[in-house]
């Protein structure tokens, strides 16, 4: 498949005392027509990376190709073909939704009408409303509409649902899905693992300015060695000095780690692992204060890779 974005050895150091190495050797390949997610905690370097790809920041080093073009040579042509939402933009309060879109539309040689863009993000009823009257979710959809009026083939969405309520998030997800179905290439950043998992065909997990894992959500979860997570804790402190080695030796357990007052196991087959855990408790004469199993998520992948949670801020 053709590559919409190709990044090699990208580095970005913000000057200052001390300088901040926001991106430290990052590689990316985004296939045309896919929805690609940069998933990582706050400060991982997602915004810096995406703004370099949008031609808004000059990287310190590295090689960036967008739609087969380069910012230093083809800036004007590239701007015509990409759509952007920044992490936070406040549009002008006293302009209506439609006026805002007509403004953005006027910058592009080609594209869709303001009215069509409004339809694409489901803001039809708000077309004549001033921006100041919009809810957070509606403003974010307006931002996406502004990214769409130029009829871009490549869309950059930086944290499109951060700070939104669950219903607004789902509405925005629907918008993103419909755009993907229309064949647009989408690069989005998020620190919500459920968002990345639900929306993205491919994900790069970013931490400290590097890609620490890359693949489809399924591939990434499978890399844990098991699809399931078993979490439990012993009831009395005395019996809780279980060595991780003992736990790892249990049948079907792929990995084990301490987690707060208890343990977290990655297991391939819960119906094999669970009886073994119960057996162990019985042998130790301990009760289980909690026990749960669930499907493994990208959060678990991140924890397995870094020992931290995505939202440990």
């Amino acid at each position: 498949m053709a590559s919409a974005i190709r990044v090699r050895e990208l580095r970005m150091t913000y000057p200052g005392r001390p300088p901040v190495e926001a991106v430290r050797g990052l590689d990316l390949d985004v296939a045309a027509g896919s929805c690609f997610g940069l998933l990582g905690p706050n400060g991982a370097g997602k915004t810096t990376t995406i703004e370099i790809l949008e031609g808004l920041l000059e990287p310190t080093a590295g090689d960036v190709e967008v739609l087969g073009m380069r910012w230093d040579r083809d800036a004007r042509r590239l701007r015509e073909r990409i759509g952007v939402t920044l992490q936070e933009t406040k549009f002008t309060d006293k302009l209506s939704v439609r006026e805002t879109l007509e403004l953005f539309r006027s910058f592009f040689a080609q594209g869709v009408s303001a009215q069509d863009a409004i339809g694409l993000v489901g803001l039809g009823e708000k077309s004549a409303s001033h921006v100041v009257t919009l809810s957070g979710g509606q403003r974010q959809r307006l931002a996406v509409a502004c990214a769409l009026v130029g009829g871009p083939e490549l869309l950059f969405l930086d944290e499109p649902t951060t700070g939104l309520d669950p219903q607004s998030r789902r509405q925005l997800w629907d918008v993103v899905r419909s755009l993907r179905e229309r064949g647009k290439t989408i690069l989005l950043t998020t620190h919500y693992m459920d968002e990345a998992e639900k929306l993205c065909d491919a994900i790069a997990i970013v931490d400290h300015g590097r890609v620490i894992a890359q693949g489809t959500p399924t591939e990434l979860i499978r890399s844990l060695g098991g699809d399931h997570v078993v979490e439990f804790a012993f009831g009395d402190g005395a019996a809780s000095e279980e060595s991780l080695a003992t736990l790892r030796a249990l049948p079907a357990v792929r990995s084990a780690r301490a987690d707060g007052d208890g343990y977290q196991l990655t297991v391939a087959e819960p119906h094999v692992a669970l009886p073994a855990v119960l057996e162990l408790a019985k042998a130790r004469g301990a009760t289980l204060s909690r026990l749960s199993t669930r499907h493994a998520s990208l959060e678990d992948v991140f924890v397995a890779l870094t020992g931290r949670h995505l939202r440990d801020e």
Binding site: L56, V84, L86, E88, F91, F107
Partner: protein, 344 residues
């Protein structure tokens, strides 16, 4: 889409933002007019009012009071000694007269009103007693529009308004847009930077157009201002001033993301000019040594040129040095600002 539509839409955005903000409308259009009304009224050159005189309530007071009242321009009261002394002290009367064969005038010689009252009362009483003036005379009263304070003030306020309008309409507005990240968002589109800049300045010019009409129209209607020179030339000067000050506005807005910072910068640039450039009183009152500096300031150039045209009937050609000063300030600040300007 036509080539200019980006420009047109940006212009519409700026104008809508402006016209839909009542507070901004007030500060730009209402406030200067209120200021002109207030200051015009406070400094109105009124004809001297009637003079308040007390006559001591002793023998002969009624005759004196009758004689003074018959003459025009006196408010006369008969008071006992104590009350008269108090009235004089409090400034309720300017003069106390003691009737008698020899009249006694009591007044404060350091108070012009008292001196004036003494002269007028004496004059009226001597005439009433039959004094004839040996020299014939007649009086011509001068209240020529163009020499009053309000005539002087309106061009000053206009200049001040154009400067602060450019500072807020360009400088503050751009920083505010940067703080909202809207500038960065616009920079991510194929928008032509020249369209953005051009539209910002064109919107400012449009507002100045209205401002000039409003201020001069108001001066004409409410104060009976007479314009000795071409109003069109004055408008041209105002537009040039607005363009020049837009350069300054752009310059203060080149880098900062904080509206507080740009507010400070705006004050730093405009307050000194409001003081020394002769908005409220002639800048020639400042010491000789700083005159070259004062004269080189763009606001001084604009206000002096406006006064020359409106009050003295000067033509545009005679204002060339001042026009050049405005062009120089505008040109230099534009070049600098465009080099330093950040979109994010």
């Amino acid at each position: 889409m036509s080539e200019s539509s980006g420009f047109v839409e940006l212009y519409k955005m700026r104008m809508r933002e402006f016209l839909r903000e009542p507070a901004v409308l007030f500060w730009v259009f209402g406030f200067p007019i209120l200021l002109a009304v207030g200051l015009g009224a406070a400094f109105r050159e009124k004809p001297v009012e009637s003079t308040a005189v007390a006559i001591l309530d002793v023998a002969g007071s009624d005759e004196l009071a009758a004689e003074l009242s018959a003459a025009e321009g006196f408010r006369v009261q008969e008071l006992a000694e104590d009350d008269a002394a108090r009235a004089l002290r409090m400034g309720r009367v300017a003069l106390v007269v003691r009737p008698g064969a020899e009249l006694e005038y009591r007044f404060d010689a350091t108070n012009p009103e008292g001196v004036l009252a003494r002269a007028r009362v004496d004059d009226a009483l001597q005439r009433a007693a039959g004094r004839a003036d040996p020299r014939a005379h007649r009086e011509t009263l001068v209240t020529e529009p163009g020499s009053r304070y309000v005539d002087f003030l309106i061009p000053g306020l206009l200049g001040m308004n154009i400067l602060s309008g450019a500072m807020y309409g360009v400088g503050f507005a751009l920083v505010e847009m940067r703080s909202r990240r809207l500038l960065k968002r616009l920079a991510a589109t194929p928008m032509k930077r020249s369209h953005f800049l051009g539209a910002t300045i064109a919107a400012r010019m449009s507002v100045v157009f209205v401002e000039v009409g409003l201020m001069l129209g108001f001066g004409w209607l409410a104060f009976g201002m007479v314009f000795h020179g071409s109003v069109l030339t004055a408008l041209l000067l105002c537009l040039l001033g607005a363009a020049s000050f837009s350069g300054l506005g752009l310059l203060v807005a080149t880098r900062t993301k904080k509206v507080e910072v740009v507010s400070g910068l705006i004050n730093l640039v405009s307050l000194p000019m409001f003081v020394v450039s002769g908005v409220f009183f002639s800048s020639e009152r400042f010491p000789e040594v700083i005159q070259p500096l004062v004269g080189a300031l763009p606001l001084t150039a604009l206000i002096d040129a406006l006064r020359a045209v409106l009050l003295e009937g000067a033509d545009l050609a005679s204002q060339l040095p001042r026009v050049l000063i405005l062009l120089a300030w505008g040109g230099i600040s534009f070049v600098l600002a465009l080099r330093l300007f950040r979109w994010s």
